[in-house]
Each structure stands twice: as structure tokens, then as C-alpha cells.
Amino acid sequence: MSTATETSATVTLPKVRIDYLPVLLVPILMLLALPLVGSFSTWVTLTVAALAMGMMIFLMASGLTLVFGLMDVLNFGHGVFISFGAYVSLIALGPLAGWVESTNLWLNVGALLACILVAMLVTGALGYAFERVVIRPVYGQHLKQILITMGGMIVAEQMIHVIWGASPIPLRLPEGLRGAIVIGDAAMEKYRVIAVVLGLLVFGAMHLVLNRTKIGLLIRAGVENPEMVEALGYKIRRLFVGVFIVGSALAGLGGVLWAFYRQTLTAGMGMEVNVLIFIVIIIGGLGSVGGCFIGAILVALVANYTGFLAPKLALGSSILLMVVILLWRPQGLYPVAKR
């Protein structure tokens, strides 16, 4: 009896093979671009800018890919959370105007964090309402889902016009976050560095939650096989609502960062990035968070490098990237089972 337990304890589970190939694409792409760009300092600037953009895209896309993976719901109105997040930060910026103009870096960062917090709370709540009102009645019907989420997007975008007016609103970065850090010849905008750090933090946190907690286990299991999770007695519906709320809140966070990056607010800004987000989640493999992360970075890198090397091509570059990746792996970088 005792020997039996001993052997079963020593026999380790077979390791899950980790697919490193897509991860390698990122450094390979960076190195390939170096001789093409020519100057090292320009390359650093471009790469940091691309990483910042990639992080923001990842933040906005991560919720969408999880929601799709878990519940097979594709939210075409996802962009609305981005726009709303960005506009809601105005609420926080009003009373915190002093912090924004202050020269104290900590107050500046505090103002940014306050914006993010408010935006995440509001978009999370909005996500709950959106799921309740718009998405719940159309589970399992793709055609209706596409239509209804588009409809929800139209209405929400118009509501932004109603509440905040139709004209674009300029948004000023907090005083201490403007300008660039210069190391050698390479200039890196401070704000982009902050965006990279924030993005990495969120990715790290998501990674931990998904891989080291029970909730994460359930979410991953739900993405692979929702019926089985349901059969084991877990309420996948409740789990899904949670993921939808978190996904919306992350979109709100991404929206705030994106708005400060662009420094203007328009109601259509969410819809504009929506296309990019779709490309990213297709590249990453629908439903895969890791794939979404790498996809976002790849898209941003390619966009920035081609933007520098061949500006005319830049805007179509992400589509080209998508085509190439799909030719290599038709289901995306990290295909999720049975999708």
C-alpha cells in the first residue's frame, strides 16, 4: 500500500510541451529589422514604441479573445469599451486637474492610475450590463451575435456623442510624463515606457491568474471544453460573466492608455482599433491569451518597422502579416482545441 503511493508520487506527469516557435518570431523579427533600419538608436526608438503599442493592443484584445474562447461569443462591439474607458477618464481628470499639472512625478502617475481605476470600474460595470442586455439572449447564434453587438456598438457610440458631445476632445498627458528619455542617441518617450511596464504587469498578472489559480484553471478548461467543465459541476455561465466583466475592464484600461497616447478623444476611436484587435486575435489563435500577446507585439513591430521603411505599406502591413501567419498556421499561432 505504502509502496503504491510512493511510486505514484514519484511518477511525474508528462510535461506539457511548450511551443516556443511563435515566441522566437519576436526576437527574430527585431533582429531582422536591425540591418534594414540601419541606425541602432533609431531601431531602439522604433522597437520601444512598437512594444508600447503592442502592449496597448494586447490589453484591448485580451478580453475579446478570452470571451470568444470561453463562450464562443464574438463581440463586435468590443471597441465601445475602449472608447468608453477613454471618455470616462475625463471624469477622473476633472477633479484631479491639479495632479495632472503638478510637476511631481508621483502625482502625475497617481492621476493616470486614478483615470485607469475609474475607467476600469465603469467599463466593467458597462460590460456587465452589455452581457446582460445585449449578449445573453443570443448565445449560440453567431449571425445574431454579430448583428446585435454591432447594434450595441452603434447605440453606445451615439450615447457617447449624447453625453460628451460629438467633437473630438483633446487630452493632455500629465506634466511629468511628457517628453522622452534619451540614452545615448536613442530617444524613448516616457509615456511609452510606462505603457510597456503597465502592459507587462497586466500580462504577468493574467498569466499568474490563468496558470496558478483555480479560477484560471477553470477558465482554461472552459476554453478547451465548456461542456465538460459544466458537467463537473461548475457554473460556466457565472465564470463567463466574470471573464466578460474583466475583459471589458481591460479594454477600458487599454482605452485610457490609447487615448493618452493619441491625446485626443473621439467616439469612433474604439471602432478604429477594433480592426487591429481582430487581426491580432486571429493571428494569435482565437481564444489564446499567449497567442494574443505575441500577436499584438508582432503586429505593432511590423507596423512600426514598415512605417519607417516604407510608409505607404505601413497600414496594410498588419493584413499582410496576418495572411503570412495564416498560411503558416491556419488556426493562428496557438490554436485552441477544436476552434
Partner: protein, 355 residues
Amino acid sequence: MLHSILSGDYPRSRPLAIVLALVLVCLAFAPFLFPGSQPLNVAAKICVFVILVASYDLLLGYTGIVSFAHTMFYGIGGYGVAIAMYNFSPTWPALGIGIVVALVLAILLALLIGLFSLRVRAIFFAMITLAVASAFAILASQLNEITGGEDGRSYRIPEMLRPAFRLFDEPVLGVMINGRILTYYLIFLSALILFLLALRMVNSPFGRVLQAIRENDFRAEALGYRVVVYRSIANCLSAGMATLAGVLMALWLRYTGPDTTLSFAIMIDILLMVVIGGMGTLYGAVLGATIFILAQNYLQVLMGKFSGMLEGAGIPLLPNLFHADRWLLWLGILFVLSVYFFPVGIVGKLRQMRK
């Protein structure tokens, strides 16, 4: 006679038949019934959008696939005319060449997209078309030398269609028949013919297969119909029709630019028209387009007045809700409600009423 014209697909509802007949009569005699350039403009837009929406309905309503690249084909038609008229000469042969090139390009592109992404699930096709369409819109605004970039192209059209042209010296029924009215009738007749052709198509055996695919693609495949092939053909036909709609619009506006042809706003308009009118019935395209364009042109005025009234009464926020520019909000709400409560649209509701 009527049976073969309508391909046996009758409105099947008295109110619907009356409304359709009314729309037809109004459009057919628009220059005489509603003199002035604004009403004629609205009528021409309705004709073009009926075709555009009907062609989209072939995809969405009959085949059950969601495409966001429809404005791309519409734009190809528009730019085909624009480039031919602007770079060559405002003559009929140039116009013909422009139309043919645009059609070939559109159909090839549709085929390519279809073969690339129609094999997989509907949702994938929706995303791919969205991406391709936005890339095309960017391309059109970037290629300055060819398309005129963001400004677009204004051009002259064949002489017969210009406002200065007079068909008769005397006015007919009190209206001078000028090139503008000829253009209108060119658009009206083309739209009518294209619509009847589409009706013919959906009521043919081919159309029945499309509907079978919409209802259950797995079963259609099992019955021996190559789903990919049928979907691709539907996609190409629909793209071709959208291209022709773009051609007609380009002839009417004598201007083609990214905002009038390629913008995502137009795609949303098309979606709204199809769903509000009724998916899976071509008559829905007529109603949807008519209602939407009338709303676009006249609802704004009404809402503006209402908003002013509310503002006069000193109610907060509400005036904003009814602001003249917020008409899309109300159509959006109508859209969401129609997807939920009457997915068959106005046409479907009218047909149900009879039973």
C-alpha cells in the same frame, strides 16, 4: 406576365404590396411628383441603395454569411467610374471600360477573399472581410495619384447625362427633361432591372441551395452541394451587384471619395437597412432602404425641431438625445430591437399579420 417578372415571388401581404407599389410609383415618377433637386437626390439614393442592400441581402439573408467588405465593392464601382472619367475622357466607351474593369476586379477580389476565408466559420469570414475592407479604404486614401486620396475625384460624365443637356426643347408635364433627369432614369431603370434579376436569382434552384446552406450547411453538404462553391458564387454575384450600385452612385454624384463609398459608416447603414427591412426577403431591401434614407434626410429635421422644443421647456439631457445628429441612435435602437423581436424585419411582420 407578372408572375414571370417577379419570378413567382409575390409580396404575399396586401399592405406590403400596396407599400411596394407606392414606392415604385413614387420612384418612377419622382421628377414629376416631387420637383426640385433635393427630392430627386433622395429618390436616386433610394434606387442605388435598394440595389446595394439587396445585394447584401443575398449574402446575409439568403446565404447566411456576414461580410463587412460590401462597401469595398461599392467603392470599387465608384472608383472605376471616377478613374475612367477623370483620367480618360467623359465618354460612353470610357465609362464602359471603367465599369468592366471595376466588375472584373471586384469579382476576382470577392473570389479571392471567399476562397481564403469562406471554408471556415462565418465569424472568421466576418473578421477577415472587416480587415480587408479597412485595408482597402486606407489604400484608396493613400494612392493619391490614382484615387485623389482623401479629397476624392470630381469628374465630368458623358454629355447626355449633364444638367445642361436638354432632350426636348419643350418641358414635358411642366418639367424640363435635362441630363439630370435622364441620369435619374438611367439609375432607376438599372436598379429595377438589377432588382428583378436578383429576385430571379434567389427564386432559382441556385437560390434555394443558398437558403439550404443558410439553414444547415452541414446537411446541404451531405446532400451533395459543395457549400464552399455556392457560397463563393453568392459572394461574387453580390460583389458584382454592389459594384454596379457603386457605378450608379458615381454617375449620380459625379464625385467619388472615401467618405461617400468606402467608409465604415455606410457599411453600418447597409446593415441597418437590411435588418430593419427584413433579412432574407429582397422586398425588405426596398423597404429598409426607403425608410432609412427618408429618415436620414427628413427625420433629422423633425428631431431638430423636437429637440429645440425640449430645450425650450428647459429639460436637461433630453434635448441631446433628440439632437438632429442623433438620428442614428434611434435607428440603432430600432436595429437592436428588430434583431431581438422581429428578426424577419418589417416585411416578415407584414406577412405574419395576414395569417
